[in-house]
Symmetry: C2
């Protein structure tokens, strides 16, 4: 069998690896538009910050690995067409046969309509080339403006501060991390960032970049502007060849497109939201990795389904972890779902052991079924994953309020913050 | 209503507090055999180690709190009899009326049959008086022997090492933390402790304490011997007055004993094991706290049930966290349950971010239903709680193997160790 994968990012590369784990004989070929192999895009801000020593460290798979796994890879070639009838992928003047085709074309940076983007002092931050440009500029600049207060924007802001560069963040919406957090939780993060010296302007639109960055409320001095206003699915190729798309490529549970023997995964596909049942994007490395496994199972003759998602995610900014899973209140209200919330502010460990601050917000429907959770503080990783499991199991806050948990003074509290927050919801339900 | 609580430890005190939260008017009286108010017994080893500055810090509720909450407390009085017919509790020559009675008589230290225990240089470690004695002795000694490698034994060993005292631990069973861990996992902990200079002898029985500590294999020099060989339910009073007991007080889901208006909770009661359905002990602070809530709900006219338990627990020894939930392989085999296990050794975070070691073991039945998990490493708190939720929801490793999780390089891996371990089980199921 000949398997061709269009795209060599996390989704494409993981698919190749998961396929090879299950199938020793098939030919596997990645065709990547970019001139480099897979790296960890999530790690880029931490190279900029100095936490990771260089960009090479983000490329954890070396050439030998591809050779050993017998994964072919063509770099710097853009697939321009697909001939479904004859099962061929076309780039330049070359045709490549396939039995199974996987589109892992990823995403591109959304760029808001701002005047003056063509300046050398403006970088749209999406991939490692952009990161390297920022890294180079960093050595020479004193003040920067970041457009967009999403994950990448704030992680980049953190990196600039670590390099003693003044940072101003301008966000069009009413809060930082608007996809992850409700306004009350986002305020905690905003204050934390402001305490570290970051200037943040919300509800503010950047109109143009000239001598200064001009917003609808002020002018801001800068040496460098970084645009990080979110990403969109890369679906030009899919659209051109007649694969069904809307804001992403449409796939079924098996990761199949509407064309026989053509699959898709990663940032370019739409997923199903677990709670609303609607199509949403899930442009997370974890989603790509998980879809790659489903794809590999199905292509190698097993039967696997990709489950609806909660878009569970996390970050850390100046030592403060921020995590989320499921619906925010804002999104629930958009969907017409009435919610009840509980919020616990406490400590991760007993005061006498020097416990750190933690805030947990729980969002439930009117019957108490848990729909979402947001957390800010320390030791969040497993807790976010626990609430993800609770939502997927359609658990009720009544059961969670007195749930079993682990406790020892060096690591946790006699009371688990997650479940206290659930108890607060239960009280409101009465 | 007059509510009398026999026992002023975690279970009794939490019951009083939870009752008061729900009922402003009833009289609430705690009668405590000990001469002091509630403190955190789990914190004791960390005072000995110096991580917590003094024993007073473990007593988080002061006299004012009891006054403010209108919780009466009688200290240093042992209840000798109960008159169910006339609803009276009797201590000394005093009778106290009750409408509702709660037995929270806790547990006592099991002392193995060893000769020479009556020496001044031997301390059976159970409560804060014992801890204070050890604390006092610590200043003068150079070498100590700990009998029992359970949680308290090892936490105390840690405390001695922190005070530059040589420690030898003697354990009758074939591994450390035998309740929490299987042998393969326990070996990791043993090696970690040995690396810190602790001498550990397994499969070895202490026969007597004289000039030296004599085991069935050797003689060990000592200045102090600490006995920490587990605890047993304190059920003398219950037995005497005809309350149903076996190895603990028998209660139903509502925490009622077989006698009308008499309840029990905490270390003195039996619980139901979630997986086997059998009676087990759950002598954890978290269990006491959770039972107190159920009790308070039921006494104040609501309807609550205490759910079967997994005995989820955790500790930290020299920076290494050790957690468990559900069945160990050893316990499963004792119950005649055939199991399949998966074990993942990896990192909490990417190598390029300086990830720390983590080992996760997953135990499932032959159909893949998850029954237990053991973990050693860092950032375990929420992860253990997540696996606890997975077991209680009767999840299958097939679903967990490709489960959603959170990821960001500063805090976690692109692959979640819990779910990789589940994937290993899935592979064995095929």
């Amino acid at each position: 069998m000949k398997i061709v994968i269009v795209g060599g990012g996390a989704a494409g590369t993981r698919t190749a690896i998961e396929l090879r784990k299950r199938d020793r004989n098939s030919e596997i070929l990645i065709i990547n538009e970019k001139n480099y192999r897979e790296y960890s895009p999530c790690g880029m801000p931490f190279v900029l910050s100095g936490d990771v020593k260089n960009f090479e460290a983000l490329q954890t798979l070396d050439n030998k690995f591809y050779e050993k796994m017998k994964i072919g890879i063509i770099l710097g070639k853009k697939v321009k067409d697909i001939d479904f009838k004859n099962k061929k992928v076309i780039y330049d003047n070359t045709e490549v046969d396939y039995d199974k085709l996987i589109l892992a074309t990823g995403s591109y940076a959304f760029v808001p309509p701002i005047k003056g983007l063509d300046s050398e002092s403006v970088i749209v931050f999406k991939d490692i080339d952009d990161a390297k440009k920022i890294h180079e500029k960093m050595k020479k600049i004193k003040k920067t403006v970041i457009v967009g207060a999403g994950l990448i924007g704030l992680e980049t802001a953190y990196a600039f501060v670590k390099n003693n560069i003044k940072v101003t963040v301008v966000e069009m919406l009413d809060r930082v991390l608007p996809v992850m957090l409700d306004k009350d939780m986002a305020e905690i993060v905003k204050k934390h960032l402001e305490d570290k010296g970051i200037e943040i302007y919300l509800n503010e639109k950047v109109l143009g970049i000239g001598e200064k960055v001009k917003t609808d409320a002020r002018e801001i001095e800068y040496d460098l502007v970084v645009i990080s206003s979110g990403v969109r699915a890369n679906i030009d190729l899919a659209r051109k060849v007649g694969i069904e798309t809307e804001f992403g490529i449409k796939v079924n549970k098996k990761m199949e497109t509407n064309i026989k023997d053509v699959y898709a995964c990663g940032d370019c596909v739409e997923c199903m939201d677990f709670i609303t049942g609607k199509s949403i994007m899930s442009q997370l490395a974890t989603t790509a990795v998980r879809q790659a496994k489903v794809l590999a199972e199905n292509i190698t003759g097993r039967d696997a389904n990709f489950a609806p998602v909660l878009n569970t995610s996390i970050t850390e900014l100046f030592g403060l972890e921020i995590g989320t899973t499921g619906l925010t209140v804002a999104r629930a209200e958009n969907e017409g779902i009435k919610v009840i919330t509980g919020k616990y502010r406490g400590k991760t460990r007993p005061e006498y052991m020097g416990g750190e601050d933690i805030v947990v917000k729980i969002i439930a429907d009117e019957k108490g079924k848990i729909l979402g959770s947001q957390m800010i503080g320390k030791s969040l990783v497993g807790r976010i994953d626990a609430m993800c499991l609770a939502i997927l199991n359609k658990m009720n806050v009544k059961d969670l309020a007195n749930m079993e948990y682990c406790y020892a003074p060096p690591v946790s509290q006699e009371f688990e913050p997650m479940y206290i927050a659930c108890e607060f919801v239960v009280k409101k339900l009465r």
